[in-house]
Symmetry: C2
Subunit: 326 residues, 2 copies
């Protein structure tokens, strides 16, 4: 074993082209490719310690013993790690995040990206980013994107080997800012994991998936050319497509609230009047508003005045996962 204890840090990401539904639920092979921006400033740190005397892995989150569901999810991930590495020891994991849960920033992506890096180091697995990306995917699909900083594409692939993320552009490439308008911090009734399984019960999922390549191409080009208008069109379109699938699943998943819809309408109007803004919404009621750094303060100010907005969290493009060297 190369180290008794390692600390890894990773950032969450916001999907610009959404991941929703799997080709293979067990291996988290997504139905379609996706693109995201890794978020700076907000992060999750995991400290992973080898513990030869333990009989199973142990997880604390923000200083508290984690829920049974979270423990199980960690253990399933670590079983993959042990299987791949041939090493059998268990570990103690302390995870801490500097952003609130329920804020609309998905915590599992940052957590499993950091876990993949820490585990690769502790269990002597290959640390090439593509290898880390595949490993992180086994913990949480979107975690495969948080291995990299800046703008990232998850190539859907068709099996474990071919499904991983690659970088599109560095954090410095474009000064986009994600302003998260928090309208509720309630725990979501249906988890994303369960939602992914329901995707195929919507008659619309097939059409969403079949048309994804065109949107991936438009989003990739918009990023490479720093074309905000192109980006805004495709990002809102893709978010609406995902929520369409959610709302037409059986049972239907409604993540939007009244306030969510009001903000979406506001954003479309601000953009029509010339402000570079667009929205994207994950599996929750909070709204991610993308803008350019020059407009970020003004957008934050305007968002704060919209009825129902409790808080606005700001994040620029951030770095990929890294180890905190002792």
């Amino acid at each position: 074993m190369s180290a008794k204890s390692v600390i890894a840090i990773a950032h969450p990401n916001i999907a610009l082209i959404k991941y929703w539904g799997n080709l293979d639920d067990e291996w988290t092979i997504p139905a379609n490719g996706s693109i995201s921006m890794t978020l700076g400033g907000v992060f999750t740190q995991v400290c992973m310690t080898a513990a030869e005397n333990l009989e199973h892995d142990q997880l604390t989150m923000d200083g508290q013993v984690a829920s049974e569901a979270a423990q199980t999810r960690l253990r399933q991930f670590m079983d993959h790690v042990r299987h791949l590495s041939g090493k059998t020891f268990f570990c103690r994991v302390e995870s801490t995040s500097n952003f609130p849960r329920g804020s609309g920033i998905a915590s599992s992506a940052a957590a499993f990206a950091a876990l993949a890096l820490a585990a690769a180091k502790l269990y002597d697995l290959p640390t090439h980013p593509i290898e880390l990306s595949r490993l992180a995917r086994l913990g949480s699909g979107s975690a495969c994107r948080s291995i990299y900083g800046g703008f990232v594409e998850w190539l859907a692939g068709r099996d474990h080997q071919s499904s991983y993320a690659i970088p599109i552009a560095s954090p410095e490439h474009w000064d986009l800012v994600d302003c998260v308008a928090v309208v509720s911090t309630e725990h979501k009734a249906v988890s994303s994991r369960e939602g992914h399984r329901l995707a195929k019960t919507s008659p619309l999922q097939r059409c969403r998936v079949q048309s994804a390549d065109q949107r991936l191409e438009q989003c990739r080009q918009a990023i490479l050319q720093r074309d905000f208008e192109q980006l805004a069109d495709v990002v809102e379109w893709d978010s609406n497509l995902m929520h369409s699938v959610m709302m037409t699943s059986q049972p239907p998943l409604f993540y939007w609230r009244g306030e969510t819809l009001v903000i979406m309408e506001e954003i479309r109007q601000w953009r029509n009047r010339g402000t570079p803004v667009c929205y994207t919404i994950d599996a929750g009621p909070n709204v991610h508003i993308l803008t350019l750094s020059n407009y970020a303060e003004q957008v934050k100010e305007k968002l704060s005045q919209v009825a129902g907005v409790r808080e606005v969290i700001m994040a620029k493009a951030g770095e990929g996962a890294y180890l905190l060297e002792p």
Copy 2:
């Protein structure tokens, strides 16, 4: 000419399985079949008078000279009538409705059903309901359903000859009540006509259309068996599917408002707690809530207490179009 002046009355209808998008815009051949309930109590009356001296058709609505757009739409319809009948005279049309515009009850269905009947009488065209249904369809797609009372299915067909409505069950068959929760009476930004043309720009329309037969069957069976639970499932699902297509068109059409979403959520909760209610929403923000007559007063009362609801209009299943004999 068999009469100098005729008066026809028809009722609006609420679609339970929605019509959205055409196979052929010019002939209003719909992309999929639809099912509706004709609404009693609310109606449109048209008085059509042959006027040999006129040089074009003239329309008044509720006593006012109609807008240029409405005049054009009437004239296009009457051109069909003249073409089919071989008669060349123009007419004066006075249309009056007993329900407010912008209430969420589509007025064009009732108007063109009444116009079709009046025109058939005045221009000596066949008055068999299927012939009337085809003719009404040329004025406004959903008008072909308002020829009949009670529960009605529009068979999509593939051309003018094969696209018409037929009755499923009489108004007395089932004591459903439509409670329209009015949250806004603003004129809609994008007309249904324009919306139908945009349907094909959504990547989801193909999947919605391809899966429609299954929903038509479920809805038909639910009506025939008076199975409210089955009806509720398929009616909400189908409404969500149509709005998914709307919201993912290019440009996107958002008809829902914050209040709309809040009411939808309330309705799902009331049903979960045992009240037989379900919602369906047309191309506007107002919500049609279906319930059984025993629950109608209670539902109206509860709806009136929801924030943003200005008025609740109630309608049972109504009659088909008929002539007012002098």
